[in-house]
Symmetry: C2
Subunit: 254 residues, 2 copies
């Protein structure tokens, strides 16, 4: 192709783009929803907000927002999390896109779901907020790919109704966690910067909903090189204190 014809082609493309009318086609709305998950006392919890408006008024939903026209999906998810819950700078990863035509009664809304992980202590500010935002215990009794119903319970153990298809999103988020746990360093996202190996084991057991062998867990984690001892120890724990470790970014696990 000559330089001349290249220039011709370029301008033809520019003319095409200039005359392109995106409004000719009807479009769905696009939102992001974020499943923010943490672990406390051997229980997985998710951050939910009670809806004050129609539709699905008074049901509990994941923090979400519509995607801005000039905004990437990742940025939209980060913005939803920040503006609705005050949390930012944490692990956030795309999960799955939900697009059944009737999933939102208002209009066609396609939702790109994300999941986020955070150490519980970073959320303590939220505890003092209104009861519109709550950390809610979630229960995902799925064995393999799918399974029983996802349940969300408030502090009194009362079951909460989830809006839209958000129960399904939560279920898939936990399933993804379980699947990635053994080959991606995600357990650390739920812990403070320094932690004991037993803390980490507890996190794994909470996510998998299954006891793990202490000895081999310890060996496996240490052998992975993902963790380095700090030389510091727990204090005032009423028993022999365990050494504190920290996560070593970038180490490749086997």
């Amino acid at each position: 192709m000559t330089k001349h014809s290249k220039k011709q082609k370029k301008s033809a493309e520019q003319a095409f783009l200039a005359s392109y009318d995106a409004s000719r086609f009807p479009k769905p709305s696009v939102s992001v929803d974020v499943a923010l998950i943490t672990a406390v006392d051997g229980q997985l919890k998710a951050l939910l907000t009670r809806r004050e408006k129609f539709p699905e008024k008074d049901k509990w939903s994941l923090p979400g927002t519509f995607v801005g026209l000039e905004e990437s999906l990742d940025i939209a998810a980060e913005r939803a999390l920040r503006t609705k819950t005050g949390v930012s700078g944490i692990f956030l990863e795309q999960l799955y896109t939900f697009g059944l035509p009737q999933r939102d009664p208002r209009t066609r809304v396609i939702s790109v779901a994300y999941y986020a992980l955070v150490n519980f202590e970073k959320l303590t500010r939220l505890q003092t907020q209104s009861d519109r935002i709550q950390l809610v215990e979630i229960d995902v009794p799925w064995d393999g790919e799918k399974g029983g119903q996802v349940r969300a319970k408030d502090k009194q153990g009362k079951r909460l109704k989830l809006a839209f298809d958000h129960a399904e999103i939560l279920g898939l988020a936990v399933l993804r966690l379980r699947g990635k746990l053994d080959y991606a360093p995600i357990g650390f996202e739920l812990l403070p910067r320094k932690f004991t190996l037993r803390n980490l084991q507890r996190i794994h057991e909470t996510i998998l909903n299954k006891k793990k062998n202490k000895d081999s867990f310890r060996r496996r984690i240490l052998a992975s090189g993902l963790v380095v001892p700090t030389g510091e120890f727990e204090v005032s724990v009423g028993h022999r204190p365990a050494e504190l470790y920290r996560f070593k970014r970038g180490a490749i696990r086997k």
Copy 2:
């Protein structure tokens, strides 16, 4: 809540929905793109079409389409595959959603990417079609999470230019394949109904781009229970014929 107030609430919600105006907000366009992958002669190939229109004219792209307003994402992906390539009824699974604001020069287009797997022999009809649709050798030199550049080559080994961010989609599709291979029965999707264990091993080696030990591969597959012998054997292969197996749907792999 009394029956009366429930009814009140219900009608309030209906009134809200009736007056909801979805056109108030500007919206992105939403498309699906499908990475159809097969394996031939130890090489992974993808089905690509040469673009005849702007933008990205003459570059090669994945079959795709805009999502209909009343159509689920899965159905849209299935439709794109069927109408653009004539293939249907095959393995199709959502991959990831791509949404950078500038990924399409026309307007904001968010693309929900899918990947599909099919046995090469089901595609033979396509070989006779125009050269606008081609099965193209793809090369994904990624070690772990990310890595080198994805390359697509035509039959003469000439490198093809890929449109939009479709190289990235192909790379992620192959990465997903590699990750799922050991715990999901996806190798079978690339084989005919009856196959030898060596055929299956070849598929695994092609996907992982890595030789596998014959003995332990055999043991592992047989132990998984995912495969049952048919009692039939290869014929006229110039050496001792191997037994043909078939995939046993629903067996759980350890």
